[in-house]
Amino acid sequence: MFEARLVQGSLLKKVLESIKDLVTDANFDCSQNGFALQAMDSSHVSLVALLLRNDGFEHYRCDRPMTMGMNLTNMSKMLKCAGNDDIITMKADDAGDVVTFMFESPEQDKISDFELKLMDIDSEHLGIPDTEYAATVKMPSAEFQRICRDLSSIGDTVTISVSKDGVKFSTTGDIGQANITCRQNTSVDKEEQTVIELQEPVTLTFALRYLNSFTKATPLAPTVQLQMSKELPVVVQYLIADMGYVRYYLAPKIEDEETAGEA
């Protein structure tokens, strides 16, 4: 038996919006610790990891670990039927083939039940090694979203260079090129700060298409954290207050002479 009640139902809607563009079908893993998901996109270029800890729910019960395979588009269709102030409860039986979403209006005058069919999805759980990253950048999530959106109107890829002065985003396209540099700043408002922790400078190139999908998580958190090391995937993390996180991993482009002209 699995049951989880989330007072702030809109949060679940936002979480789903942040992953459904990247992954069509995914397994949710429910355990005593919380509600989690890990999935790769169909090109195996990016990976999304979600965790909603048990203590973030008003009520959480999971008798034994279970996996629920869902089509995220269909799940999103159902969650869109919930009001923004609704309380959302997820329920599933141990051997059942459906998950139930129950929406309660704040005044308790309307209760809706939606049942989503579960599906069998092959997926292997991939362990992501914990690494020390050479560079960590914290910046306002809206700013990061804006940069990715702006640059993708010029080019397809973005080169991110982190130095002790700041982080530089640059792209080249048919019409020209663009560079945006964000310097460290220690604004009073913590959410406006750009903070860089650096072991050594790093420069990596990524496909903007994926980064733009990641920024769908912007409503979940005021700040975003980028972690990079040479030749390793970048980690883009949005912390969900008091609950957990959405983390995206994106493998870098391979740079060589032949493809440099193409990109």
């Binding site: 090109s43 270029v45 482009k253």
Partner: protein, 682 residues
């Protein structure tokens, strides 16, 4: 001129006789020396050696892709057969029956038995898009490579990924690839395009080394490595025998190399025969691996209603006198050759009715009227039957056969019986199965008796093909002329004691068309691969086209002639419009043509046209059947004339290079024959 032709004819004759001699020698020794040597080589192969995977684990697709790669590097048939035979042996040694079945399908460039109608054939645009997404390259870069290389498979192999991955996907397996192919082919309904794309991308993402190339080509429905179906069948038969009867490089029962070669040859004959009667590897491969294997195959897999056999075909001839000469000492019968669609009608034990086309496609949904009326044609007591017949358009008010063109205006799918405007009549001429008995091996005479005993004629709907038994030239000539007055194409002449030989263009059936009265030569079904812009009256449409025949062995389209006559103004207009959408920037790598005939625009092969020509000649510019008649030159058609578009054919079923060579040789023989006649008179 006449002298030249005669010399050519004599040369052909000489070539034939020397070939015959070689064959006789081979027969004397049981089999050819080459096959004995080959048997020795096959024995020395160690099937376990190339195994890179754990025994019992699914065989990796890379193993098969690498075999394809080796096959594409040679043009020698024997070598290709050996490569594939050994690959199958390795799969037998370290894989499961499922692995072998999947490998046979993939090597045959099919994914399911033909009559199930499950085909791939994904468009280039989709593949380019998916390749771009899977590799992270730009679509425009892939397109420009495609223009350069002319083959998407090569582009896929070249497209090194510019994008690293989080985790490499699981390796492709032979069984897994076939499963995905089938799923892709069967995906339909809303969002099917996206689902297909997702599956294609998954395959391309997981492809390593040369795999991407062969996945791409299979998805296009064209393997293009010079691997003919016959070779796959041969390799399968060889592999099964070698696997079962040899050990450690020796025959289990102490056979000599020559005996082994004999055994292998016999196994191929059995498999080919069984496959023609039961064209389904789903049934054949498991049966081959059962106890008794090839020896018991014919008992386990045989013809039955519901699974179509390939239709028996007729050889073209040049006139009544040639027929009489060929059949000088056998009984034969003549039947009208109706101009319609070949239909093999199956009535299964459970009452289900299926109608198959000449390509074993399931045409059942096309003829709801026939399905409904079929019981009224049957005599009492008929529980199951398979007949071969021609479905022709028929005017029931006038009681008259209508031309083929009218039949082709009938819809193809989802036809509601109420909407049918064109009625069809069936002209039955053969019976292959009756009440549980397989009649394929029975002589024509018995099969015809069975047909008459199982059916009754229903005016305007079901007829027996008009037939006549005679040996008199005059009478046959009159019969031929009558047949043409009846709106048929001419006559089919059949020997009475011949069995039904599926898929063979046998000498036991000859066709005698009305065209032969005007001159010699059958019509050809050719593929337009390019066009020339029209001038003068034809400004704005294509004025002339470049046509090609299809070489099954090399999977090439070989140019055979330019054509500009026989087109009505409407035809020019509609052909131009329909072909405009298939224009490609450069010829595909598998188009073979002389530089001097390069057209203004190239087409992706899509249509097949029936074309009539005055005769055939050796050509330095055209490439049809090159290497078959002349070692370097090809064959061209002289004075080609457009007849019609063959809606029922695909470029792969166009007239083959081999048939073109046959036509050329037959023409030479006929000239020789005529010349011989002249000599007698003088």
């Amino acid at each position: 001129m006449a002298g030249g032709k005669r010399a050519a004819a004599a040369a052909t004759k000489k070539k034939k006789s020397s070939k015959k001699k070689a064959k006789q020698e081979a027969n004397a020794a049981g089999v050819g020396d080459k096959s004995v040597e080959a048997a020795g080589r096959l024995l020395s192969y160690d099937p376990a050696k190339p195994v890179t995977w754990k025994s019992g684990e699914p065989v990796p697709y890379l193993f098969l892709a690498e075999i394809f790669e080796s096959i594409s590097e040679t043009t020698k048939r024997l070598e290709i057969a050996e490569l594939l035979t050994n690959a199958f042996r390795t799969i037998l040694a370290a894989g499961t029956p499922e692995d072998l079945l999947a490998a046979v399908y993939l090597a045959s460039n099919t994914i399911a038995p033909q009559h199930e109608g499950v085909d791939l054939g994904i468009g280039d645009a989709t593949l380019i898009k998916m390749l771009a997404e899977a590799t992270g390259r730009k679509e425009s870069a892939i397109k420009s490579d495609y223009t350069k290389e002319g083959d998407l498979g090569i582009v896929a192999m070249m497209s090194r990924s510019t994008q690293s991955m989080m985790f490499a996907p699981p390796k492709l397996t032979i069984v897994g690839v076939l499963k995905e192919f089938r799923a892709i082919a069967k995906t339909e309904g809303t969002k099917s395009v996206d689902q297909k794309k997702g599956k294609i991308k998954k395959l391309l993402v997981a492809a390593r080394e040369c795999e991407a190339g062969y996945v791409t080509r299979s998805l296009q429905g064209k393997l293009r490595i010079g691997l003919a179906q016959q070779t796959v069948t041969t390799a399968l038969a060889h592999a099964v025998v070698l696997h079962a009867e040899t050990k450690d490089g020796k025959c289990a029962d102490g056979k000599t190399h020559a005996e082994l070669a004999d055994r292998l040859g016999a196994a191929v004959d059995v498999l080919k025969q069984v496959f023609s009667e039961c064209p389904s590897f789903d049934e054949i491969v498991p049966a081959l691996l059962m106890d008794g294997g090839i020896d018991k195959l014919a008992e386990r897999c045989h013809f039955r209603p519901g699974v179509p056999v390939k239709p028996m075909l007729a050889k073209p001839t040049c006139g009544v006198s040639e027929v009489l000469q060929r059949f000088s000492d056998v009984e034969f019968t003549c039947e009208y050759k109706y101009d319609g669609e070949r239909a093999q009608i199956h009535l299964c034990e459970d009452g289900a009715v299926k109608i198959f086309s000449r390509n074993q496609e399931d045409n059942t949904p096309k003829f709801p009227d026939v399905i409904r009326a079929l019981p009224t044609y049957l005599q009492e007591g008929v529980k199951s039957v398979v007949i071969d017949c021609e479905a022709v358009a028929f005017d029931r008010a006038e009681g008259k056969i209508l031309p083929f063109q009218i039949l082709s205006t009938r819809g193809r799918k989802n036809i509601d019986e109420k909407d049918i405007k064109v009625n069809v009549a069936l002209y039955a001429f053969d019976c292959l199965y009756l009440n549980g008995e397989n009649l394929l091996q029975k002589p024509m005479m018995e099969r015809r008796k069975a047909l008459y005993s199982a059916f009754k004629e229903v005016p305007g709907e079901f007829f027996f093909a008009t037939a006549k038994v005679s040996r008199d030239v005059e009478e046959l000539q009159v019969f031929l002329e009558d047949s043409i007055k009846e709106n048929t194409e001419g006559l089919i002449v059949k020997t009475l004691d011949a069995t039904y030989e599926p898929s063979k263009r046998s000498l036991n059936w000859l066709k005698l068309k009305k065209d032969y009265m005007e001159g010699c030569g059958d019509s050809l079904d050719l593929v337009p691969i390019g066009a020339f812009h029209g001038r003068g009256k034809r400004t704005g449409v294509y004025g002339a086209y470049l046509l090609a025949c299809y070489d099954e062995e090399s999977e090439e389209l070989q140019s055979i002639c330019k054509i500009g006559t026989g087109f009505s103004d409407e035809a020019l207009e509609s052909l131009s419009n329909s072909l405009k959408d298939t224009v490609i920037d450069a010829p595909r790598g598998y188009y073979k043509y002389g530089e001097s005939v390069a057209p203004d625009v190239w087409f992706a092969a899509s249509q097949v046209w029936e074309v009539k020509a005055a005769d055939l000649s050796i050509s330095p510019t055209h490439m049809a059947a090159h290497g078959l008649v002349d070692s370097t030159k090809g064959i061209a058609l002289r004075f080609p004339r457009f007849l019609r578009v063959r809606e029922d054919k695909t470029p792969e079923t166009a007239t083959s290079a081999e048939q073109v060579a046959d036509f050329y040789n037959a023409q030479a023989t006929k000239q020789e024959f005529n010349n011989g006649g002249d000599d007698d008179e003088f």
